[in-house]
Structures are given as C-alpha cells and as structure tokens.
C-alpha cells in the first residue's frame, strides 16, 4: 500500500469519525443537557422531548452510530482493499 493511499484511507476514517462524533455530542450533550429546557417545550408521546433525549433517545442514537460506523468502515476497507480476508 502506498503512503498516499494510506493517508487517504486514514483521512476518510477521520472524516467519518468526526461526523459521527458530532452527532454523538449533539444528541446527548446538546439536546439532552445544554438545550434540554427549550427542547422540553416539545413533547413526544407523554415525554417532554429534552427529557426523552436524555433518558431514551440518545441511547438509541448511540446504538445506531456504532452500526453505521461498522458498516461504513467495512465499505471503506473494501474500497481501499485493506480489509481482512
């Protein structure tokens, strides 16, 4: 593998990480803590929305993020041909 390819693969990985970690931060620290009061003006079923993000929603998003990461990295491994046999 050439150093350029290597750098491209790593760069793509870092971009993916950045996007996913921004979402990770936004749903928990953002909607669940910092913006919880304005969010609570809305509701989801019987949940105030900010409260829902803090006690339910963020956890569901966390699960989704890991599977999105795993699937995207598998694609990336194939594209750059660095996956395991």
């Amino acid at each position: 593998m050439t150093p350029e390819k290597r750098a491209q693969y790593w760069g793509a990985n870092l971009r993916l990480l950045t996007v996913l970690l921004i979402i990770w931060f936004a749903v928990s620290y953002g909607l669940g803590i910092l913006l919880v009061e304005p969010m609570n003006a809305f509701s989801l079923g019987g949940y105030p929305l900010g409260f829902w993000f803090a006690q339910q929603g963020s956890i569901y998003v966390f699960v989704a993020l890991i599977f999105i990461y795993a699937a995207s990295m598998n694609r990336l491994d194939k594209k750059f041909d660095v996956g395991e046999e």
């Binding site: 966390f62 795993a70 996956g83």
Partner: protein
C-alpha cells in the same frame, strides 16, 4: 422455609449450577484460552458477554434508584454509561484488536516502547479495577444476606467460591461463556418486573413506551401522562419536579456525563473483551451488539425508576396532601415495608406523633413551614429511603409473585458475579502477563505462565474477598472513583497511542501520572486521603470549598483529569524526540485492519 425462600434458593441454585457446568466445559488449555478465550468468540456472543461484564451491581441494583430520586438529573448515568461505547467502538476497540495482544498495559508498553509506561499502566489498571471490584463484592454480600438468610460474610465466601471455580479453570474462556448465561439471567430479572409494573400503571407492556404513556393505574384512565402525574405527586410534597430536576448544575451534569463516558471507554476489563473476537471488523460490530444488549436494560431503567418512585409515593400519600387521613397509618404499612425496615434501608421516625407517615421534602423551606403551620408536620418522617430499594423491593411494592422476587435476586447476583469475574481477569492478567512475563521473567514458558495466571487469579480473588469482608468504609463511592481513574489515565494514553503518531514515551507517562494525580487529589480533598475520614483537606478560606472547581463534584472529575492528561502529554512530548521509526510503523499498522491474526502474547 417460606415460599419466597424456596423460590430464591431454587432459582439462585439453578443459575449457580449452570455457571459451574460451564466452568467444567470451558477449561483453558493455553495462555490464549486463559487471556482471550482463544480469540474465536462470535461478535454477537462477545457483545452479550461484554454487556454482562459491563453491567455491574451498580447498574442492576442502584441505578434505577439513583434515577428515581434524581429524576432528570439521573440521566448522567444513562447517557454516560452508554455513550462511552461509541467512543470505545470508534476510537479504541478495532485498533487495539488489530494490535492483537493480551492486555491493555501491553499495548501501552509496546506503543510507548517503555517498561515504565507499561508499569504505570498496570498501576492505573489495578487501582481502577480493585476499587471497582469492592463494589461487586459488597453487592454479592448484600444480596445473599437479605434474601438467602445467610450472613453477609458467608455470602461473599460463596460468591467468591463460584467465581473461583470458573475463573481459575477457564480464565477468559470460562468467564466469557458464564457471562453469556449471566446476561440472560440478569436481563430477564430486570425486564420481567418492569413489564408487569408498566402494564399495571399504563396498560403498555413495553416500559420504554409506558414511561411516555398515559397514567392509567389498573386500567383506569386519568387524562394525565405518567410523567405529568409523577411531577405533580412529587411537587405537591415539596420535592423538585421530576422531569426537570438537575444534578448540581448543567455544567456538572455535562462534565459528569463526559467523565462516565471516557471512563467507560477506558476500563480495561471492558477493553480486553474485544481481544476475544476473531477479526477487526468483528470488534466493530461486537461493540454495537454490546450496546444493544446494554440498551435493553438502560432504556428500561428510567421507567423502573419513575414507576417505582410513583408507587412509593402513592403507598405513603394515600389521600390529598394535607387532609387528615391523607397519610398512611404506620401500623397499617404493608408487609414489604416491614421487611425492608429490618434491613435499615427504610427507616421511619414519627416526628409529630400522629401515627401516620409524612414523606415530603423538608429541605424545601417554604413547603416545610407551610406544612408545619397548616398540618402540623414536624419534618420528613421517612428518614432513610435507600436507592437500592427501588429495584430490590420493586416487585414487592407492585405485589408481584414470589418467583419474580427470586429472579431479581438471581439477576443481581449475576450482574455482580459477571463484573467481578471480568475485573479479576483484568487484574490477574496484568500481573501474570505484564509484570511477571513482561518485566521480570520474559523467558517464562507458556505452561508456567498459564500456571502463574491461575495463581494470580487466586490472589486477586482472595484480595477482592478480603476487601469485600472488610470494606474500607467508602464502598459506596468506589465505582464512581474507578471511572475517574480510568478516564484520567488509561483512555487518553490509548487514544493518543492510536491517533497521535508523534506522541512519545515521555509525554504519555507524564500525561498518565498528571491525569491520575489531579483526579485523586480532588477526590481525596473531598473524601479524605485514601478515603480515611478526617483527612479531607478542603480549604474554603482559599476558595476551595466543596465542589470548588466550577461546581464540579469529585465523582465527575475524571473528565478534567483526562483533559489535564491530554494537555500535559502534548506539551511534555515536545521536550523529547518523536518515537523511533519502528513505533511509527506500528501505529500505521494498527490503523489498518489487514493482517490481523488472533491475539497472541508474542
């Protein structure tokens, strides 16, 4: 024997027999078996084992209670103890799996080409893991002594004996397969009562939906949401509104959540579980599966907390607040109340001698003075309502059958045993593999190392048992401290090892020492030096009162320690040369999945 005791002995006995059966079947024959279960664990199976490894007595027994009384503020535990898996999956697990060795200090030692770094990592690991294991031991002792009619000491000895059988015989292999069984036990035990209670209060069997549904006790519609009802019930008695009650301040919640997340990702007993899967891609998916299995409990917990709180309030406040017959007559209290009074977890004191129970927030000055003038209340009479009661007594409060209560006992024991076993393996492998083979006798034969691993395991079990029998008086706070230590020392060292190619040995060691020192100092300042009462050294006259650092509580301080670690490491690393060429190659290599074999010790 009562029916409850028969059920409890039956179910707990059955689960213990299963664990021993697995131990005999999954014996370790090589060091690979002992440290990483041979490296061939299916990612879903590993996810399940990780979930049990992770969810401790604190998650199972205490967390719902912390949410019940913390309300919205309890969210820090929910987000903090799950969000860490995102960090673990994205930033550590796949790369460490690619590195393909047996222990966490081994990565730190190799990456920073330094025995010093490895030994510092071993010390951080042992500090974090030993403090964590004490909490599991006390959990086991408490579960035995309350439900099985044996003494606390006997409980710990029996629990230790069970762990010893499968951890010594099977190492990681035995632990992995028992953890899978333990996950099944604990998740049933947690969700079954929650489903019953959710059905009872909202008519919806899914607690996650029930918590956001209409309050309809026994099918009678109320026109109010369950959370709305709970908010009303608690504020009527002067308590803070459930859905908006914060823990300390927004900043404290932010930092606390961050500390728990970073700490979760840095706990060695969780990280080593990802060394057991065959491939890098398995490590990625396995973290996702682990979080699925964890999320089943963690999304149920807030419903358990809120519903148990509502049930408790309704049991005591039986009529309108302030009316003459609005409060439960003490002599008419239910049986579970009496049972839990004998354990000291519930305590009543009739302050105004009216024979009825007044349970309200007497710290709320305005409400307390109104209650005294208008109704003659002389203070909150429920002087103790322990957090743990919310899970342990929950089935009884909801009048569920005896087998459900027995299941909860088996579940609590499974949670404590599975976590204890994982921690004990992390401790014993760091001793036999990192210290003995890594530092003292590098030429040790595989057979001798396997024996050393087993001996280290025995030593770790004896130490954990001893600390469980003689808890150092700070047992309750210890789990939180373990997170602070892992967050401030291990997580930054691992992350920089992967993402900062220029990070060198000097920077990493300085960072770890600075991070753990700052965290320990802040904790000791609040809770005493090594938790010895009377040695606290808060200095209010110098502006160092309780939570002096921006109102951050000591349990939430790990994130600050981690920040110190990162900054010190970055600055100090500039003082020395970049790592040698072969180390930079090693970093390049862990960043790419191709070429991962099974984990090896060489």
């Amino acid at each position: 024997m009562t029916a409850l005791e028969i059920w409890t002995y039956g179910i707990v006995g059955l689960t213990f027999a299963t664990y021993i059966g697995i131990a005999i079947w999954a014996r370790a024959r090589t060091t690979g078996d002992f440290y990483v279960a041979g490296g061939g664990v299916h990612p879903v199976a590993n996810g399940m084992a990780t979930a049990a490894d992770w969810m401790s007595a604190a998650s199972f027994i205490s967390m719902a209670g912390m949410i019940a009384f913390g309300g919205y503020g309890g969210s820090v535990f929910l987000m903090g103890w799950t969000g860490g898996y995102v960090l673990l999956a994205l930033l550590l697990a796949p790369y460490l799996r690619k590195f393909g060795k047996f222990t966490v200090p081994e990565f730190i030692g190799d990456r920073y080409y330094s025995q010093t770094a490895r030994v510092v990592a071993v010390i951080c690991l042992i500090l974090a893991s030993v403090t964590y294991v004490i909490g599991q031991m006390t959990g086991i002792g408490v579960a035995f002594s309350r439900f099985l009619g044996v003494s606390y000491e006997m409980g710990i000895i029996v629990g230790m004996g069970i762990v010893a059988i499968y951890a010594i015989l099977g190492g990681m292999k035995g632990i992995t397969y028992t953890q899978i069984a333990q996950y099944v036990v604990l998740i049933f035990a947690y969700t079954v009562p929650a489903v019953f209670i959710s059905l009872n209060l909202t008519g919806n069997p899914l607690p996650q939906i029930g918590l956001g549904s209409e309050y309809a006790r026994d099918g009678v519609a109320s026109g109010m949401t369950l959370l709305g009802k709970l908010d009303q019930v608690v504020t009527d008695l002067g308590f803070k509104e459930y859905t908006t009650q914060v823990m300390g301040s927004s900043l404290n919640m932010f930092v606390y959540t961050l500390s728990l997340m970073i700490g979760t990702a840095g706990l060695p007993h969780v990280i080593i579980r990802f060394f057991t899967v065959p491939k890098v891609r398995d490590a990625r998916y396995s973290a996702g599966w682990a979080l699925v299995f964890i999320a089943i409990l963690y999304t149920t917990a807030p419903a358990v907390g809120a519903m148990a709180r509502l049930n408790l309030m309704d049991t005591i406040q039986i009529g309108p607040v302030g009316s003459e017959t609005g409060n439960l007559v003490y002599d008419e209290r239910p049986d579970w109340f009496k049972r839990w009074e004998t354990t000291g977890l519930l305590k009543f004191e009739d302050k105004n001698n009216d024979g009825r129970i007044q349970y309200y927030d007497d710290q709320n000055a305005e409400f307390a003075s109104k209650a005294e003038q208008e109704w003659g209340w002389k203070g909150n009479e429920m002087v103790t309502v322990n957090n743990d009661i919310m899970v342990l007594a929950n089935p009884e409060i909801a009048q569920l059958p005896a087998w459900v209560i027995a299941l909860v006992v088996a579940g609590g024991l499974a949670a404590a045993l599975s976590t204890a076993a994982g921690l004990l393996l992390a401790i014993s492998s760091s001793i036999s593999h990192d210290l003995l083979k890594g530092v003292f006798i590098p030429k040790i034969s595989e057979k001798a190392e396997l024996l050393a691993g087993r001996l280290a395991m025995i030593g770790a079990i004896v130490l954990a048992g001893y600390l469980g029998l003689n808890p150092p008086g700070f047992a309750a706070g210890t789990v939180a401290i373990a997170f602070g230590l892992a967050a401030s020392s291990i997580f930054p060292a691992l992350m920089m090892g992967i993402f900062a190619k220029r990070m060198n040995s000097l920077g990493a060691v300085a960072g770890m020492i600075a991070g753990i020192t700052v965290t320990l100092l802040y904790v000791f300042q609040h809770k005493g030096i090594f938790f010895v009462k009377g040695t606290e050294f808060l200095m209010p006259e110098l502006g160092m009162g309780p939570d002096w650092f921006f109102g951050i509580s000591p349990n939430a301080f790990g994130a600050v320690g981690a920040l110190v670690n990162f900054v010190v490491a970055a600055v100090v690393s500039k003082l020395a040369a970049p790592p040698p060429e072969h180390i930079q190659h090693l970093v390049e290599d862990v960043r790419i999945p191709r070429g991962s074999g099974t984990a090896t010790g060489h």
